[in-house]
Structures are given as structure tokens and as C-alpha cells.
């Protein structure tokens, strides 16, 4: 029995050593350091919300590239949406003595004690995409998409679409997420502004339904919306999955040519749908820029510069013409 377990452990040990990156950087600075011996300037720990969603994978990959460009290492771990896992990961970052911690908080409140613990250990904490809303710990800087401005872009695209004709519009919402609230707020403001000066081409928001930000829920919500308003002209969905769910709903009642969809995000599936004419356009997010910008803020902070508490990356509208030129879709 013991012999068997010893063998297993031995193999396991070899596996672990093989899996992990073995380039331990050890500098032994006794005396004043000379500038040219600096190999790694430090390690940044990143606990992502999840790595199964490509959005966060892109953020992580770009953070890694940017960090390595400036001589820092990046460790990426995935919290799989579980706050306790994330809190444990922060604890391990502290034990490892990382120079900075980046989080996508799994919960806008309960991650507070972990951030506070990092603060106490003197490690600066940054967040991206998802924001920490509590007041227990201090986040140096938060980097995210400018959702409010993105919502306005969607509103402008809607006004452009329905100018002269007007029509009924449904919103497929995900009210739990603050980011989606901002998107809808921007969208509604532009539409209302248009209505104030409209002459007979009023855009009427007839229903706002919860689509859960997911394809199946979006499908149901869109189906209800079209049932209640058979003369619907357009749908604004707060992300690509729920937009595509809405598209399926329209196809199931053969109304895809009557109702135009504007979604949000610019995920690969969304871009493909735009190319194929299933979605008119998306205000798109730039996870690559979010990732790079986060690392740049960390470097600025280490460099002694003041860092703004929040950096918002503007969104841009993405139509079929953009999709046809997009190298990402040509692979």
C-alpha cells in the first residue's frame, strides 16, 4: 500500500514540476543593486472571472503580452465565478509576494475582505471589466468599457435605422449587471432625444424584458416581445448571446426580415452574425485594449505617477462593412 502511494506521489511530483514554469528568477541583492542585473521586475497576479468565456481569455492574453514587454511576469488563475475561490487565490498571491493583483471581482461586494487583505499586505489591487462596489478595500484603478457611451452608440444606430419611419422597439435587458444598466441608459437617452424633435417618426420603446444575457433566455424574451407587439420594428439586445437568441426567436416566427437587431459586445459569434446579416451592428468592446491598459496603469503606478480611479475604453460601432474587412473572421 505504502509502496504504491509512494510511486504515485513520485510520478505526481514529476508531473507538477513539468507543468509549472521553471524559470525561477532569483536575484540576491545584498548590496546596492546595479541597474543591469534586473531580470524580472516582479510578478503580477490576475484572477479572472472565468477563462471559459473568450472575452476574459483575450484580456488575460493581452495582459500577459504587455507585462512581458515591460519585464514583468503574469500569473493567470481562474476563479470560475466563485468568490471563495477568488478570495483563496488572492491569499496565495499574497503568500507568493506578487507586486500587484488584478481581479475581475466575482461579486461586487463579497470580494471586499480579500482586497482589504491585499491592501494590508501592501499590494496594490486593480480591477478590470467588473467593478468592486464595496468600501472595505481600496482599488487603485478600474479599467472597463465605457458602457454608457456604447449604449449611446447603439441608440444612434437605432435612430439612423428608424429615421423617417419611426417604429416600435423592444429592449432585451440584463438588469442585474450594472454594465447593462448603463448600456440601456445611454440607448434610451438617445432615443428619447430623437423623439423630442421628431416629426412623426417617433421611436417607441414598447417593452423592456430580462433576457438573462444568455441565448436561451433571450430567445424567450424576444418571443414574448414579438407576441405582444406583432408590428415590432427593431430589438436592442444588451449582448451578443441574447441578441442571437432574439434572432432565433424571430426566425421561428418568420419575422427576421421585419425586425432588425442591434446587439452589444463584438464577441466572435456576434461579429460572425453581423457579417451574415443576422445582427445589424454592435457597439463593440475591446478586451485586448482593456488588458493592455490595465497593465499600463500598473506600470504607471510603480513608476510613481498618479493613476485615475477609473479608465473607460470607448466602444465603437461595428457594421457588416467592418466585418468584411475584419482579419479575425478570415481565419
Amino acid at each position: 500500500m505504502i509502496r504504491l502511494s509512494a510511486i504515485v506521489l513520485f510520478v505526481f511530483g514529476i508531473a507538477i514540476t513539468g507543468c509549472s514554469d521553471s524559470n525561477r528568477k532569483t536575484t540576491t541583492p545584498d548590496a546596492p543593486k546595479t541597474n543591469d542585473v534586473v531580470k524580472s521586475k516582479g510578478t503580477i497576479g490576475f484572477s479572472a472571472l472565468t477563462l471559459t468565456n473568450p472575452f476574459f481569455k483575450v484580456i488575460a492574453d493581452n495582459m500577459k503580452a504587455e507585462a512581458e514587454k515591460h519585464g514583468y511576469d503574469l500569473i493567470v488563475v481562474s476563479a470560475e465565478r466563485d468568490v471563495k475561490t477568488q478570495a483563496d487565490q488572492v491569499n496565495e498571491f499574497i503568500v507568493k509576494g506578487v507586486a500587484a493583483i488584478v481581479l475581475n471581482p466575482c461579486d461586487s461586494q463579497s470580494i471586499g475582505p480579500a482586497i482589504q487583505k491585499a491592501n494590508k499586505a501592501g499590494i496594490p489591487v486593480f480591477t478590470n471589466d467588473l467593478k468592486y462596489d464595496g468600501n472595505e478595500g481600496k482599488v487603485v484603478c478600474h479599467v472597463a468599457t465605457e458602457n454608457y457611451q456604447g449604449g449611446k452608440l447603439a441608440g444612434e444606430a437605432m435612430v439612423k435605422l428608424l429615421k423617417g419611419t419611426g417604429g416600435k422597439v423592444a429592449i432585451i435587458h440584463f438588469p442585474q449587471a450594472e454594465s447593462c444598466q448603463l448600456r440601456v441608459k445611454g440607448f434610451t437617452e438617445i432615443v428619447n432625444a430623437h423623439n423630442t424633435f421628431s416629426n412623426g417618426d417617433k421611436i417607441e420603446i414598447v417593452s423592456t424584458l430580462d433576457g438573462g444575457g444568455a441565448r436561451d433566455e433571450g430567445f424567450k424574451a424576444a418571443k414574448d416581445a414579438i407576441e405582444a407587439n406583432p408590428d415590432l420594428a427593431a430589438i436592442f439586445a444588451i449582448n451578443d448571446p441574447s441578441g442571437l437568441g432574439a434572432r432565433s426567436a424571430l426566425e421561428s416566427v418568420a419575422k427576421q426580415d421585419q425586425v432588425t437587431i442591434i446587439a452589444f459586445d463584438g464577441q466572435l459569434i456576434g461579429k460572425q452574425a453581423i457579417r451574415d446579416g443576422k445582427i445589424l451592428c454592435d457597439p463593440i468592446q475591446f478586451p485586448d485594449r482593456i488588458g493592455r491598459s490595465t497593465v499600463q496603469q500598473i506600470l504607471k503606478h510603480f513608476n510613481g505617477d498618479e493613476v485615475p480611479a477609473e479608465i473607460l475604453i470607448p466602444s465603437e460601432l461595428y457594421y457588416k462593412a467592418d466585418a468584411d474587412k475584419d482579419p479575425e473572421l478570415k481565419q
Binding site: 511530483g13 540576491t28 546596492p32 543593486k33 488563475v77 468568490v83 496565495e92 494590508k120 510613481g304
Partner: protein
């Protein structure tokens, strides 16, 4: 089993061996002496550390020692890089010069010093490093124990259930239910963040009570109608999860008083309270399972339920109690977790049932029932925790970690099967 745990600990101690960079008083003395011997008593020194307890101790020792020797301390910065920049700016603006910067490993790596041509990070003096495994740092060991405490507590109830030959899949959802239930009672009934101690304790006990009731309901359905435990507790898992999402409308509830955080975040004699609670519970459970009639009955039911019944064991009553205990301990786990993370949240406890069952099985309890030890479960929980912790410390890719953990579980069951076969021969 304990042998495996020790070997793992040894393995990770070797694997995580790393240069450690000290800070604190001893390091401060070392750095101050080095500066004095190198730059003499006329040295003009800037001290840069972070704003942590140990770092400030380091900075103060450096400052006092240098001043006593007659050297000049230009400024003592305890903060982040921007604070260091401001300090250097003001020193240079008033015509000062810097001979050396007393720093530690982290602050010396800030690129801020290289902004100034006549400062530069070459002027940093840092304490010499020493070799020690990350794994064996006290903060890490306490961290691992603290992380495991909740799983381990719930695993006590699960061990009992599994020894009777059953299973309880509802524990993860009960963690969420206790968390949300207690937080809502405190928020709506006791004034949220201003709630008094009595309310807090009452709400926590009520939260555990709800989960005990849910556990009792499980036991009732299993004993009264002979429905397999797998199905009963699977249903309870869905109902409890749905209920906690419904009660909280899917949001977390942070309106809790600080007195509530004592259980999960407080310390007694330097050891985090969840660890102490876990130890106490394990001692009680061990005594109950090995020294009492109740414990004997639990094993007897798992060994052969029919034989136990014929020998006069009150099978139904014992099963009811076992499921009730399991539910109550899951509720307790939920309270500790809520206290640790300072909010009630329906998302808590996700997949905990599997974590806990894994701990029990790795700890040598047979899924067929009748065999297993309480302390085996504790060791099982720690084996899993140490493997996870060690892999995290060694930066193993998160996807590979899952593969390794799955393999460990598979091996544990394999051992169990082999042992069973050997003992039969």
C-alpha cells in the same frame, strides 16, 4: 493516509523553495548598518517602504539607527510608488541629495527612482534574502487551513451520511441558503449593519436551524418512503438553491454588522477562528463516532442495514439524525463563509457537495458504507487543499489543476477498491 499528507507537504516544501525577502526589525538593522559602513556617518538616506505593519517596523528601525549614528534621514515614506515620487520631488526641489535609499525587495523594484538621473534604483539598499519554501510560510499554512476549514466542517456530516451508505448532494445549496437566510434576517429584522449581538447570534442559529430542518426533511423522505438518498438530496439541492436565489433576488446582501465577522475573520491566540471551530468539531465528532452508541449504530447501519434493524438498532431515527446533522453542519459552513466574505450570497456553495464528497472519499471512507474514520476525512480534506495550494504556488495552469485533482480522486477510489479486495481474501 497521514503518510500521504506528510509526503505531499514535503514535496511542496522542496518544490516551492524560493529566495525570501525579509522585512521587519532585524532586516532594518542590517540595512542601516550596511548604509553606515558604506556611506559613513554623513549619509543622506531616503527610506521607502509600503504601508504595512512589518514594513513600518523596518522603516522605523532604519530611521532610529541612522539618526543615532548621526546620519541624515531625508524622508520616511510608507506607501506606494507615487508617495515615493512626491518625497523625492520635494527633496530634490529643496536642493537635497540622496546617497542611499533604504528599501525592501518590493519597493526597490519600483522604476520610480530611474525617473531622476541622479537618483536611480542603483542607490537602493535591500536586506539580504534567504532560502525558504513559500509553502512552509506560516501565513500560507494558516491560509490553507483557513480555506479548508469550511469544507472540512461540512465533511463531518457527509462522512456520517456516507458511512450509513447514503449521500447528501444538498450541502452546497444549504450553504447558500444559510448564508442568504441569515443575512436577510439580519438586514430586515435586526437593522442590517447596526444589528446587535443578540440579533446576530439569533439569526445565525436560525440559519443553521433552517438547514437542519432541510436535512431532517431529507432524512424523513429517505426513511419514510424508501426513496434513494441520491434523488431526495438532489431535489433538495435544487429547491434550496432556487429558494436562496428567490429570497435574495439573485443579489448579494452586504448589510451585516462587524460583530458578525468575528467568526470567519477573527483570530484567537493568533489562529483564525474557523480553524479552531473546525478542530473542536472534529474532536467532538471523533468522540461521538468512536465512543458512543450513536456512533456504533451509524457504522452498523452502513455495514448492513437489515441486520442492524433486526438487532434492534433504531435505523430510521439514526438516519434522520445523521441527515439532520449533515444539514446543520452545511448551514454552519454557510454562516462561516458569509462571515468570512462579509456578505450573504446565493452564489456561495456552488459545487461544494463534490468538494466535500471528494474529501471524504480521499480520506478513506467507503462509498459503500460501513467503513470510514472522522479524522481520515480531515486528512482527506487537507490532502486536496494542499495539492491545490501547492499547484497554485507553482503556477500550474488552472486547466491542468482540474486534471490532476480528478486523477487524485480516481486514485483514492482505486485504493479503496484494492484495500477492500485484499481484506476480503
Amino acid at each position: 493516509m497521514i503518510f500521504v499528507l506528510l509526503v505531499l507537504a514535503g514535496l511542496f516544501s522542496i518544490l516551492t523553495l524560493k529566495q525570501q525577502h525579509p522585512t521587519g526589525e532585524a532586516a532594518g538593522r542590517q540595512v542601516a548598518d550596511f548604509i553606515l559602513s558604506r556611506y559613513g556617518r554623513q549619509a543622506r538616506v531616503l527610506i521607502v517602504t509600503r504601508n504595512t505593519g512589518e514594513d513600518i517596523a523596518f522603516a522605523n528601525v532604519v530611521a532610529i539607527r541612522l539618526k543615532d549614528a548621526g546620519a541624515k534621514v531625508l524622508d520616511n515614506v510608507n506607501g506606494a510608488a507615487p508617495d515615493a515620487r512626491r518625497a523625492i520631488d520635494s527633496i530634490l526641489a529643496s536642493g537635497g541629495e540622496i546617497d542611499a535609499i533604504a528599501a525592501n525587495d518590493v519597493t526597490s523594484k519600483w522604476p520610480v527612482y530611474d525617473r531622476y538621473p541622479n537618483v536611480g534604483s542603483g542607490k537602493c539598499v535591500v536586506p539580504s534574502s534567504y532560502l525558504w519554501p513559500d509553502f512552509l510560510k506560516v501565513s500560507n499554512l494558516l491560509g490553507v487551513a483557513n480555506q479548508t476549514a469550511i469544507y472540512a466542517m461540512i465533511a463531518i456530516g457527509m462522512t456520517m451520511v456516507i458511512i450509513t451508505g447514503g449521500i447528501d448532494l444538498s450541502v452546497g445549496s444549504l450553504v447558500a441558503l444559510a448564508s442568504v437566510g441569515t443575512a436577510i434576517m439580519i438586514r430586515d429584522g435586526g437593522g442590517g449593519a447596526n444589528a446587535g449581538l443578540v440579533t446576530v447570534v439569533g439569526a445565525a442559529v436560525a440559519g443553521i436551524g433552517i438547514c437542519a430542518l432541510a436535512g431532517a426533511f431529507n432524512g424523513f423522505m429517505i426513511t419514510a418512503f424508501q426513496i434513494p438518498p441520491f434523488i431526495v438530496t438532489l431535489s433538495m439541492m435544487m429547491m434550496a438553491s432556487g429558494l436562496s436565489y428567490r429570497l435574495s433576488s439573485g443579489r448579494s446582501i452586504p448589510e451585516l454588522p462587524t460583530s458578525f465577522f468575528w467568526l470567519g475573520r477573527g483570530e484567537t491566540v493568533g489562529i483564525p477562528n474557523p480553524i479552531l471551530l473546525m478542530i473542536v468539531l472534529y474532536i467532538i465528532a471523533h468522540v461521538v463516532m468512536s465512543r458512543t452508541v450513536f456512533g456504533r449504530y451509524v457504522y452498523a447501519i452502513g455495514g448492513n442495514s437489515e441486520a442492524a434493524r433486526l438487532s434492534g438498532v433504531p435505523v430510521n431515527r439514526i438516519l434522520m439524525s445523521v441527515y439532520t446533522i449533515c444539514g446543520a453542519l452545511a448551514g454552519l459552513g454557510g454562516i462561516v463563509l458569509t462571515s468570512q466574505l462579509s456578505a450573504g450570497d446565493p452564489k456561495f456553495g456552488l459545487m461544494y457537495e463534490l468538494e466535500v464528497i471528494a474529501a471524504v472519499v480521499v480520506g478513506g471512507t467507503s462509498l459503500m458504507g460501513g467503513r470510514g474514520k472522522i479524522f481520515g476525512t480531515l486528512i482527506g480534506a487537507f490532502i486536496i487543499a494542499i495539492i491545490k495550494n501547492g499547484m497554485n504556488l507553482k503556477d500550474v495552469d488552472p486547466f491542468n489543476q482540474k486534471i490532476v485533482l480528478g486523477a487524485v480522486l480516481m486514485l483514492a477510489v482505486l485504493f479503496d477498491t484494492l484495500k477492500r479486495r485484499n481484506s476480503r481474501v
